[in-house]
Symmetry: D3
Subunit: 318 residues, 6 copies
């Protein structure tokens, strides 16, 4: 398989196909135009500047196209960078489809779909199942494409559904170990908890927050969707049955400071909050640790309170 962006070291010469993930026309202090480009493939990203650009190049190399880029890997202020010696658009005979260069969940969409189904069917409370099915049907397509975040954890195609699946798997373990947890409620809450992100985020490529996302947030978005769904389905959205489910999604950030308008006050809501945090933390740490060598610390992870994590020497990893 061809070498990818993260396979190169400082000083290496390379010539690869990659997706232009960001392209900005900038001006040097002295007034010349250049293109500040970000190239990406499934292994990672690298920045590079194209100096003294022509209008044609500005036209060609926009976010979303696939190019062949050639140059040398260097570092600028501690960040890898490519000194571009040549760049051109990929032709139709070459691997030019953008989707080939995008990071994806570790399981395929079909695998995730298949793995989610039994959890939906395990919801025995009919109202909850009806609501879950209604909303999954409404948002299904987006749900399986959407990342779980703009940056941070699960910020890749399918990240949202994969994160949901991981929490459901953890939930299953917890239900088996501790008696007295309402399986239907925990599964229904887990399935819906982040579904509002299909509206909050603009999609898997060049992910941005939408206006409803910024002004309402995914927690109130999904709560509103539940109410509207109930109205459509003829269910009383302020009945205790629905109130329990709404509480699950409203409280899942755990703390008011993190955007939940109420704190968990159900056993299942508290469990969902813990498992959400656990899965997100593991994904972020694994992702960061995969980029460093034994004996090194990762970069500081903003979403984990700016901590950096240590990759122990190989002989410790038994």
């Amino acid at each position: 398989m061809a070498k990818q962006i993260n396979d190169f070291q400082d000083g290496d010469h390379f010539k690869i196909f990659a997706l232009v993930k960001d392209a900005q026309v900038r001006t040097t202090q002295k007034g010349a135009n250049y293109l500040a480009l970000t190239f990406g493939d499934q292994s990672g990203e690298i920045a590079g500047n194209l100096w003294d650009v022509t209008d044609q190049q500005i036209q060609d190399f926009q976010s979303g196209v696939v190019v062949q880029v050639e140059g040398q890997r260097t570092s600028y202020q501690g960040r890898p960078q490519v000194s571009i010696t040549a760049v051109r658009l990929a032709t139709v005979d070459e691997p030019h489809q953008p989707e080939l260069y995008v990071e994806r969940a570790p399981e395929t969409e079909d695998q995730i779909k298949g793995a989610l189904r039994p959890f939906v069917m395990a919801i025995k409370e009919p109202t909850w199942r009806q609501i879950v099915n209604h909303l999954l049907a409404k948002h299904g397509e987006t749900f399986f494409q959407s990342p779980a975040a703009k940056t941070n954890h699960h910020a890749f195609v399918g990240g949202l559904s994969y994160h949901t699946l991981s929490i459901l798997r953890l939930s299953q373990s917890v239900i088996q170990q501790y008696p007295g947890i309402n399986e239907s409620l925990l599964y229904a809450g887990a399935l819906l908890h982040d579904l509002g992100k299909t509206v909050e985020l603009s999609g898997a490529v060049g992910t941005q927050y939408t206006i409803p996302g910024k002004l309402l947030g995914h927690i109130s978005l999904i709560d509103g969707e539940i109410c509207a769904a109930c109205q459509e389905l003829g269910i009383d959205y302020e009945s205790e049955t629905v109130v329990l489910l709404r509480h699950m999604v409203l409280s899942h950030h755990g703390l008011l400071e993190y955007g939940s308008p109420v704190r968990p006050e159900l056993l299942e809501a508290e469990v969902l909050h813990h498992l959400d945090e656990l899965d997100a933390s593991i994904m972020m740490m694994q992702s960061a640790l995969s980029k460093v060598s034994p004996g090194e610390f990762t970069d500081r992870l903003f979403a984990l309170d700016n901590r950096s994590f240590y990759q122990p020497d190989e002989n410790k990893k038994k």
Copy 2:
């Protein structure tokens, strides 16, 4: 007019009609039953124990009945108390209607209704007006009875609508003074901001939080109602028009720590938040200051960060 509860001093003998606001059967350390009663009228409240009660008395003197109570005002651990010498149910020939003894807003329901109308009519954006009218119609009756809180500010019959009206009046002043504020949005947001309290609280007498109130809170309750109303009215509840209105109600507590899932990010939302706080603060201070004499400090007010406020000497109040 007959003297009321707050007209008496320590040591005074009195005999008044009052509402039983709370009645609890308790046992002394040594095992005898007694009734711990709270009496109230429009002037305030006073506690008193009825010792060695009979089963008939326990039966009779329940929360919500009007009684004639006779006794002496004393103090127990700094709180006024009545040493009961006699108590009996009010007869039908006496002022026995509970509603005579409940604190009320300074304006009548009709006055408040009349004063609110022009503000509703000043909403020129048709979607917002449609939603406001729909929800006021749905909750109208409760809206004009409900207190604005269980304790703290506007905790009296009609408190919710009176608080809403006060904010609207302040809004009008602000709109006149500062150009560029969207009058329709500010009025619509102010009218709806606390409407969820009609569901969150159990009503004006013996106010408690309901289960939906505890598990969801009035902010998400009204947001959910807006979504369901839109669904019913055929309005897209995630259109920018509706999103702006939802943002008004979701953000009105100002800070995540105070239960808003998003902070104000609209000029009108920030103004609403400030006016909500201003009106609530003034009401709490006025209420507390009305109970102390010049030269004294009020009790500590929990909802105002435990501060106590000073009533200056009368000759300072020019």
Copy 3:
């Protein structure tokens, strides 16, 4: 089986055997002596005052003895209480052994021991296994008796080892679900993380903090024990291998504010912290929820940020 303390309602007459868990000689405001007693069995606790006590009674009814107590259940300031009509020491022919009346872990000591063994054997790193075996041998007896806390979670005989086992079981699920977690390190850390509580707490009955417990805390106690054990075993306690294990125990409270001198900076340390919190939270919620009826909220749980939890109506618990 005989009825136990929590089987009675207000007004019930009862006559049961129970352990005196606390006995304090007090004086009424007017100067008479009485005994403020707390009775307990495996179902719960109840307080009761013995008025006008004799010196003999003060002598007899001390903390740790088993008595037969007869009386009526009442409530005093919202707390259940017994109006004692008779109390006497249990005889040798009656169930007079204190250990019969103490709350215990849901699994027996042997079951816990048996369940822990495979986890110890799964530690493949020899230094860690050596240290774990050394310290379990040193503290073993206490480890299987000790509660995990003075109050709050797992505050019962065997609570410490049961809590440890629960975390190990959760760890196993997590390891199976996520690749790249060092199983040996996570198990070794989990086994030792709270072992310092054998020194921090005075034991399972009338649990108090010891002086070393108060002045050092269980986190530094176990870290110190690891260092001393290494010194004894000829292991360098500042080698990276041991440093990793020490980091696991030092960081397991997650935040400096909670008494960890360092925050988790290893994947396994972060996972241990989450699972520790998850298990403790579930235990506290389950315990509190078991004491309320459907439709009720629990008392506020101090260790869960003063939240109270809701027990949904029975028909929701499907």
Copy 4:
């Protein structure tokens, strides 16, 4: 009217008169001198570098002079910038007076003075009026020139008096709506609350904090001035009358964390604090929103907790 700085877009060529607001001699990494200039007029500011400067240019283009600058508008790291092609001093025949290029309050000094007068006259308490008149006379000139802050809200000529006037107008509305507010105290407090800024800040052009401003702050500065004024006027500065006024100014930041040595404990002090915050917030939001187009968010506003505010689509602004 001539086009001003904020009337140009990226790529536009322009030639305008502007004030040099900041001029710094800098050295490139390779050692050449250049001038980093900031140009300003009543519409806004723009930065630009003058490369390879001569000593004469460094001499000429200092902060405070008016120049004619010609060049092209570009952007550098997201900030507008001018690529200077020519710059020269304005001549006496051209609009060369610095005061023509400075941002000013929306009302003229005379309008503000006229509008303030009735509020001073409405202070009926003679001691307060005497103190207010004394201090306004002492600081008058500066008071009507000074900005209300170095950056943030009302950071323009006359900002301090305009902010004071806005609060007085809001105060008047509040007094009309709520009975029991001491009008004299609220007006006197509002008039003096920020007067210490005349000493804290260096003036309207190139505003800096003075040494007394940094070491004492404007709150203690005005409190000290009140005491000294009383000493001069033969008034007891620790009498209750003066203490009330001092409390108004000392507490107006509301929280100790914001630099008030005491929190508001008078009804009027709490109201002043709220109105101060309200007016400052509105001014900051209006200023930021005036710089963005419908559908955009403003920059993050540091003084409003780093929030950015949304300018709704035009058709929402009805």
Copy 5:
């Protein structure tokens, strides 16, 4: 010497002279009047209730009189209490002067005065010395009587001047150890830093906060006094010389949250803040530790963040 309050144990009978420090008429739940008395002498305090009091007794036993009280020491809810068997006013032939029963500084007023003088004379900057002399002359009498606080540290006659002296002595050590500290500034700041307490507190007996104390606080009180003194002495109170001294007193609480309107920004101000905290902490700990036996913890000390301190076993105290 006669035994004092703290010399008695539970169960002891005693008959002593003591000051009535607090006397409140209360009513039992059933309506009888009694006197809740607090007795004090130089060794400590003890509470006791006088049941079924006569009007004459209420008249006689008021705060500030000396009585002979007889009774038995008991405990009520963990606090020592006296079961009063007899109480009468002290006669003129007996030790009836209140000042005999008040806690005092460890050094006499004359010793403290003598020890302070050299520090005043060591102030070489003439303006600072002039201000210090002026204010010490104005408040001298009160300064040597006043406690340093209502409760907490140095809450005894002469506490304020003794605390000031202790800080000066620590200052001298610090000046000797570290070069570059301005001795005049540190001494002048230390002498004035708490002088505002002469106005903030009502005096040494039955210490209360005054109205100016509550509404302004001792920090602003002394700052205002400095300004007024300068006005009287013809010194510019906003000159840098005076600003430095004002900064010393304004910043001495160290943090805005603790009531300083500015944080220390002078070397000497930071040192003063540290020494103020150090002396207050030591005094509080010494006082609390003197009341417990070896092997015990003190009560929780509110002003030390609710910590309790351990008194090690005597043989550890070498």
Copy 6:
């Protein structure tokens, strides 16, 4: 004596010997290599770039060598910088020893050693003295070389022992002024409190945190060392005697947020914490103030909550 780095002003030409403290190969945006160098001597540091470097130069000018550098002092973004015109390695005939260019404690190693001795001998408790002697012997060499921090206070050769000595001297003053402080405990605690930094930091030149330093921190490192030392010496490390000493070192940061797993609960521990803070603060302020002229503020000091400190005009420093 030859001029040193901090003796030059902007624009000065200079030619000096200096230590290369940092040397990084970087690439310009356009791809050319250059060396980003930091030069240092006992007066301070200065940065400079060597453009278009040869491989030989990259080889020669590494961190730790002494060079002669010639150039002109300029400023880049407010920081002093040297425009290098020539640089070469120092020869053996020139002052080429790195240790000549390193900042050192104000007293020599021998002076510090001599001054520490009496404090060790003043520890009368034999266990504490034994532990202190054991650990000083073990870490002695490093202890007298190590800085007290990577940056911030005492970040120079010998800083750790000098900081320890300063605290001991302050301790002595405090012990003399306040009775009842356990001299042995305070001295033993002060001597050991920061000794873990010999393991936490990599040494005096190019100071970095070690892996044990990052994962455990110096507080737990020294606590672990005490336990291991006790194990070796046959002392019970959980006896009260040792527990007191361990508490001293564990609690010396004062707050959990600052990394102490327990807060001070001994009089001596609280005193140690205060003196540690006092000495560190004074050192940081003195260092920063020595770099500014009268009338100026220092840079913001991160470790002092980002405050900057004012150097008063010379005529104020009497």
